[in-house]
């Protein structure tokens, strides 16, 4: 076994002509490169697709003309830092309701302004409540436990689930006790 290892190391040094590698590696035995599939296949930077980072001309066989404008049927919010409607955009979930008003307000400030992002995050939270209301209005009572993957939790993390249930029950129990005490006073 030790003979084999030695032979390997020997082979390796000759194979790559880099005797200094062991030194460079802080006294560790050199990595057995032959054991690593494809080692060094892209050592030559010419093989790396992104090197250098930007290059001209384009390699894609694509027209250099601006794409046609996508027709707009729904409200799409536009960044003040990029003030024209792009030729292409996503159209699902247009802004609506209170969250939509918050989003429109957010788009009055730029991406450079932290209020833009904070308003959007606030709108997202409001939107969750709107989503619940929308489900109920359609007569659909969402199964929130199922949506959170309780089946998977039960299958793969029963102990964790039991702990969470115990904690929730304890919190509910304490809450109930405190409320009861207050109402009795």
């Amino acid at each position: 076994m030790s003979h084999h290892t030695h032979e390997h190391g020997h082979d390796h040094e000759h194979g790559h002509g880099r005797n200094d590698l062991a030194v460079f590696q802080h006294g560790r035995p050199p990595v057995d490169r032959s054991a690593i599939q494809g080692w060094g296949a892209d050592l030559d930077r010419k093989n790396r697709p992104a090197y250098p980072m930007e290059r001209m001309p384009q390699r894609l066989d694509a027209p250099l003309t601006q794409p046609d404008q996508q027709p707009q049927h729904v409200e799409v919010l536009v960044s003040p830092e990029r003030p024209h409607m792009t030729p292409l955009f996503g159209s699902p979930q247009p802004p609506s309701g209170l969250s939509g008003m918050l989003r429109r307000a957010a788009f009055r400030s730029t991406e450079n302004d932290v209020r833009h992002w904070l308003l959007l995050l606030l709108a997202d939270r409001v939107n969750v409540v709107e989503g619940l209301a929308e489900d109920l209005a359609r007569g659909h009572v969402p199964n929130i436990f199922a949506e959170m993957g309780i089946k998977a939790e039960w299958e793969h993390n029963r102990v964790g689930l039991a702990k969470k249930v115990a904690v929730a029950a304890a919190v509910a129990g304490v809450g109930y006790y405190l409320l009861k005490r207050r109402s009795e006073r």
Binding site: R18, H26, V31, A41, R55, P67, L88, E111, D124, N127
Partner: protein, 394 residues
């Protein structure tokens, strides 16, 4: 059609939604045969990405069959089996001309910093994603790549994001022969970054995570050393000890805004949103790399403020490079690597889940249950087609 439907933080379900339609002459409709859940989908799932609207369908990693094409599509044909890069890009704007497809200027009116991404919030263009039976694919002549006949569909779906992102992470690290490379994060992208570091001639590859099964996996799959940061007092000190007090030549952040390991960062980040996620991995990168070294960032961070030790980066003379992967640029080379057997991406797939069970799939991945590395979702229509094909063969 059946599609994943986001209802709020930690809440998703499979729902019936209207089929997507051609909205632009360059569009195609693709019938999805496989889609993945990506680590970066978890940032959306946890409600950390601004303008993630209720009702959205996630999924930027998918392959499928072209079902319909718009009048302007000339190259792609109905019936083509395609992999679709996660970027929505035009191929002709200032940035696309420079092969920065991840930075396309023509596909996202709602933010200037980020290009269009399938199923990745309205901040990334508001496109619905591929965790569905059908998906609208704009610029169908430019984005999708026809899957070569000898390429496995599971390899193809990993070429839409995880593998190119890991590869670009290694490439941005500008690895030279014999370099010591430290990858933070043993998720799919970190695993592929480690693998790619070897392709680029690294002399030593070290992967850092805190989930033991992920470290086991990456040790086996990418033959690297691993560190469980829960067992380490001080990461930068530990890396320096391992490298004769110099530091690593290259550090890669494959974690992004939900890093564990630092309570202050977690409180300032995900909990109170005072910064765009916890930048722990990025701190470790900057402080563990050697002077004059390279830091490469592909972990997703939010658009707002982050506390980053830029002074250390300055004093150490670091090169920092980062981007969303420009997937299309990497595909020819990566397909070569797969065909030559240098890398076998599909090995990282641990879970195949019917689209109907998307809520459980997200929970398993998010909570790191059942040794999950990568999950593939299979829509009911794709399963039926396969059943029909199997019957036809008999």
């Amino acid at each position: 059609m059946l599609a994943m439907n986001y209802r709020g933080p930690y809440r998703v379900r499979a729902d019936h939604k209207p089929d997507p339609v051609i909205e632009h002459p360059g569009d195609a409709i693709v019938r999805v045969t496989r889609s993945c859940i990506c680590g970066s989908d978890l940032h959306l799932y946890h409600g950390l990405v601004p303008d993630t609207r209720v009702g959205t369908t996630f999924g930027h990693e998918f392959v499928g069959i072209v079902e319909e094409v718009g009048s302007g599509v000339t190259k792609l044909k109905v019936g083509d089996h395609v992999l679709v890069p996660f970027n929505v890009f035009c191929g002709s704007c200032f940035f696309c001309q420079r092969e920065l497809y991840g930075n396309c200027h023509n596909t996202n009116p709602q933010a200037s910093a980020v290009g269009g991404i399938y199923g990745y919030s309205h901040t990334a263009g508001g496109y619905d994603g591929g965790q569905a039976e059908f998906v609208r694919v704009p610029m169908a002549d430019v984005g999708p790549t026809v899957i070569p006949a000898d390429l496995h569909e599971d390899d193809a779906v990993l070429l839409t994001d995880a593998l190119p992102t890991g590869y670009q992470a290694a490439e941005m690290g500008d690895i030279a022969e014999g370099d010591t490379v430290v990858v933070f994060g043993a998720g799919p992208v970190g695993i592929f970054a480690a693998k790619s570091a070897w392709l680029m001639g690294a002399g030593r590859v070290i992967v850092v995570d805190h989930v033991e099964y992920r470290l086991d996996f990456v040790r086996r799959y990418a033959q690297c050393e691993v560190i469980n940061f829960r067992e380490v007092d001080d990461m930068a000190l530990h890396i320096k000890k391992m490298t004769d007090w110099l530091g690593a030549d290259v550090c890669i952040d494959a974690v992004g805004c939900e890093a564990a390991g630092n309570a202050m960062q977690t409180i300032a980040g995900p909990y109170t949103m005072l910064q765009a996620g916890s930048a722990t991995a990025l701190h470790w990168c900057i402080n563990s790399v050697r002077k004059g070294g390279n830091v490469s960032i592909v972990g997703v961070y939010g658009p707002t403020f982050n506390a980053v030790p830029i002074g250390n980066a300055l004093n150490k003379g670091l090169t920092l490079r980062m981007n969303q992967a420009s997937v299309k640029r990497h595909l020819p080379r990566l397909i070569e690597h797969i065909q030559a057997g240098r890398i076998d991406p599909k090995q990282i797939i641990t879970h195949r889940v019917p689209l109907e069970e998307v809520a459980d799939a997200y929970h398993i991945f998010s909570s790191k249950l059942d040794n999950c590395i990568k999950t593939v979702l299979i829509p009911p229509s794709a399963r039926q087609t396969r059943a029909v094909a199997a019957t036809a063969l008999n």
